[in-house]
Amino acid sequence: MHLVFPAVLAALLFCVGLYGVLARRNAVLMLMSVELMLNAVNLNLVAFDVWLRDALHSGQALTLFTITVAAAEIGLGLAIVLLIFRNRGTADIDRVGRLTDGDEKADGDEKADSAETVGDDEMEGVG
């Protein structure tokens, strides 16, 4: 099989994931896009391992590791997103703007802060 096929597929998949990471507003969707990017890397690893016929199977072993790390990453990432949601009442990346230089977002932050207590209460109800 032509090596270009998996390689190009991996490259395109990676770029799709990249677009998702950069363009999605919801944090959970961002994490999903990250998964896409990781899978693109996995595909590359497997394809090159198969091509090279490595005696140690390093490509596939690393793929397994990546999958594991990805699982850990999605767990932690979702925990962080949940925390942000609980504190801010939203999972929108656009509205998490504490890094802003200046006070344009100050109002939004305050609103978010005021919404925080409401979110907390409701979350408690859910929990």
Partner: protein
């Protein structure tokens, strides 16, 4: 021993000034003793030095300062008859001024610094007088300039005092620039800054640039001694307190210029051109200032212009080669001008105004300040040159010198070739001097009449006493006697500290002239030229002076009569004889012949314009760069700040784009 005393003379006032400045705030009680006592002590010491030096004595002592390369500068003392005489004058006048100031400026909060500055001023002048080295002399010369700046600007709350002090400083500094170069020229020619060395070089003909040096020195002399082109600061300096005026006019500042020329007279005698310039300058100054003095309304400005005129006499005497006459006049003038200013201070103190017009409407001034009235009369008589007052003898010495020069045998006292003094210069100075004598007598009389004889009363006397000239001439004298006799003060009694210096100074004002008659007294300390009035000049001069006084009196009478004749005389009642005497010259005389306006046009406005231009360039051009340098980073920062929008995805996009760009660059580069 004499040297120690001589060094102490300038040192004591200097230390007094330092102590006064240091303790002025903390120990107010010490200020007055610290002001008066060092000056008094140095006066006593100056007299001692005078006695020890004797008539033909000399004392020269020099200590080399650190070697500086080039010409050596040494801390040296040069004592001869001129120096010790002048030192006595300076210290005596300074003592009187300090004593007077203790009362005159009793209420002034800045009295401590004032007294310290007066002491410093005195010390600087004494340094000039005693110094045997031109550079050390220059130090004293410049310290005097600074002190005059501070003292004239003593009332710095008033704008006229501020501008007058700046004007005095700038004008004298303007003269000091050529002065400094003149010193350099002299020192380069003679190979030393020592005055002795320079005079020796002049005697042996080693001075190759005598004319240049003398002309350059004249710049500084004109500035300090207020001669014609640079005289304008002196009348304005009246903004200072009256005792300061007395000090500046009588003993220190203005005397320095004349003293310097007298010291370097042999150098000046080498150059006809310098003598001619000095003489013309003196004559213009004399006559111009006489006219101006006649037209002024301010009592102190009249006296200021009279100083300018008397300095013109001295410069004239120096121009015709007779420094003895010049120094004689300097001494007598120092005495009677200090007297005039101090008594004017008393009068102003009592009248609460400087204006002669206002005084002429004031009844009883004569009776309120009898001491000032009498001493001012003495001073004015001396100023006008009436015999037997001191001014008569010294002025006549000047005129005699001019007459000798006009006849071709200038009285140089062996200091230089008499042939260098042209005859026509002698005639010019002589005629100018006589004309000035007329004017001086006229304005002295006018001042006297306006200040002490109110119109109504004098006119009443005139009406009652048949109005004849003889009787009227007697009237002021009679009034004076009456005022002296009736010793009951009608107004505020002036403190003794103000009155005592008046009488102290009145003695030399009257008698100092007689000292010049005796060949073993004053002439012996000088160069031995006879100071006795010659048979030709003194009758003429006295006649001219009497004529001037009489004309002024007649004009005053007519003016008074006209004032009385008009019904509403009270509004503008000023029996000023000046309009009658001066005629069309009155306007220009009152404004100083427009010299100030001329300078304003020629120098002040261009300089101000240039200053405005520079400030415009600074504010609009240079500052634009500075603001731009500050503003550009701010602007860039504001632009770049927009990138910091807190959007994580935006940051990530930029990061990824950068990575892509780097990858492309690497790929293309390979």
């Amino acid at each position: 021993m004499t040297l120690t005393l001589a060094i102490l003379v300038p040192l004591l006032p200097f230390l007094g000034a330092l102590a006064g400045l240091a303790s002025g705030r903390r120990a107010p009680g010490l200020v007055r003793p610290l002001a008066v006592l060092p000056t008094l002590a140095s006066a006593v010491l100056a007299v001692l030095v005078l006695a020890r030096i004797g008539t033909k004595g000399h004392l020269d002592s020099a200590t080399r300062l650190t070697p500086t390369g080039g010409l050596p500068i040494s801390l040296s003392v040069h004592l001869d008859g001129i120096a010790v005489l002048l030192a006595v004058l300076v210290t005596v006048v300074a003592t009187c001024v300090q004593l007077y100031s203790t009362a005159y400026l009793r209420e002034d909060p800045r009295y401590p610094s004032y007294a310290a500055l007066v002491s410093l001023f005195t010390a600087a002048m004494l340094l000039v007088v005693y110094s045997g080295d031109l550079i050390v002399l220059l130090v004293g010369w410049e310290v005097m300039g600074v002190c005059s700046y501070f003292l004239v600007g003593h009332h710095w709350e008033r704008p006229d005092a501020r501008s007058a002090s700046i004007k005095a400083f700038l004008v004298t500094k303007l003269g000091d620039v050529p002065f400094l170069f003149g010193i350099f020229v002299l020192a380069t020619d003679a190979g030393t800054f020592q005055i002795d060395g320079i005079l020796g070089a002049a005697a042996t003909g080693r001075l190759h640039h005598a004319t240049l040096a003398a002309l350059l020195l004249l710049g500084g002399v004109a500035g300090k001694s207020a001669q014609f082109p640079l005289h304008t600061w002196l009348p304005d300096a009246m903004a200072g307190p009256t005792p300061v005026s007395a000090l500046i006019h009588a003993a220190t500042m203005v005397a320095a210029g004349v003293y310097l020329v007298a010291r370097l007279e042999p150098v000046f005698l080498l150059s006809t051109a310098a003598l001619v310039v000095l003489g013309i300058m003196a004559v213009i100054t004399m006559i111009g200032s006489g006219l101006c003095a006649l037209a002024q309304d301010d009592l102190k400005r009249v006296l200021a212009y009279s100083t300018v005129g008397q300095l013109g006499y001295m410069a004239g005497a120096l121009a015709v080669g007779d420094r003895d006459a010049a120094l004689f006049h300097l001494l007598t003038h120092g005495a009677f001008k200090a007297l005039l200013f101090l008594s004017a201070g008393v009068v102003i103190h009592a009248a609460h105004t400087n204006s002669l017009t206002a005084m002429s409407r004031m009844d009883g001034l004569r009776r309120r300040v009898p001491d000032a009235y009498a001493t001012m009369g003495i001073g004015l008589a001396a100023l006008a040159g009436l015999p037997p007052f001191s001014g008569f003898f010294s002025k006549d010495a000047v005129l005699t010198a001019a007459e000798h020069a006009a006849n071709g045998d200038a009285l140089t006292g062996g200091l230089g070739p008499a042939g260098n003094v042209p005859c026509w210069l002698g005639w010019t100075v002589l005629i100018g001097g006589l004309l000035t004598a007329l004017l001086t007598a006229a304005y002295a009389t006018r001042l006297w009449l306006l200040a002490f004889f109110p119109v109504r009363r004098a006119a009443a006397e005139g009406v009652a006493g048949s109005g004849e000239a003889v009787a009227a001439t007697v009237a002021p004298t009679a009034a004076a006697v009456a005022a002296l006799a009736s010793d009951e003060p009608a107004g505020p009694v002036e403190p003794a500290a103000m009155v005592a210096p008046l009488w102290l100074l009145a003695v030399p004002s009257v008698a100092l002239g007689l000292v010049g008659l005796w060949p073993h007294a004053l002439p012996a300390w000088l160069d031995g030229v006879s100071l006795t009035p010659s048979g030709v000049t003194w009758p003429i001069a006295t006649g001219v002076a009497l004529l001037g006084a009489g004309l002024a009196w007649l004009a005053w009478r007519r003016a008074a009569a006209r004032v009385l004749a008009e019904a509403e005389a009270d509004a503008a009642a000023a029996a000023d004889p000046a309009p009658l005497l001066l005629g069309p010259l009155l306007g220009p005389s009152r404004t100083g012949f427009g010299v100030d306006t001329c300078y304003d046009r020629a120098f002040v406005r261009p300089v101000l314009g240039a200053a405005r231009l520079v400030s415009f360039l600074d504010r609009e051009v240079v500052e634009t760069y500075v603001k731009g340098a500050a503003g550009t980073p701010g602007l860039i920062g504001r632009v770049v700040r927009r990138a910091q929008n807190g959007n994580t995805q935006g940051y990530l996009s930029a990061l990824a784009a950068g990575v892509v760009v780097l990858a492309v660059v690497v790929a293309v580069a390979q």
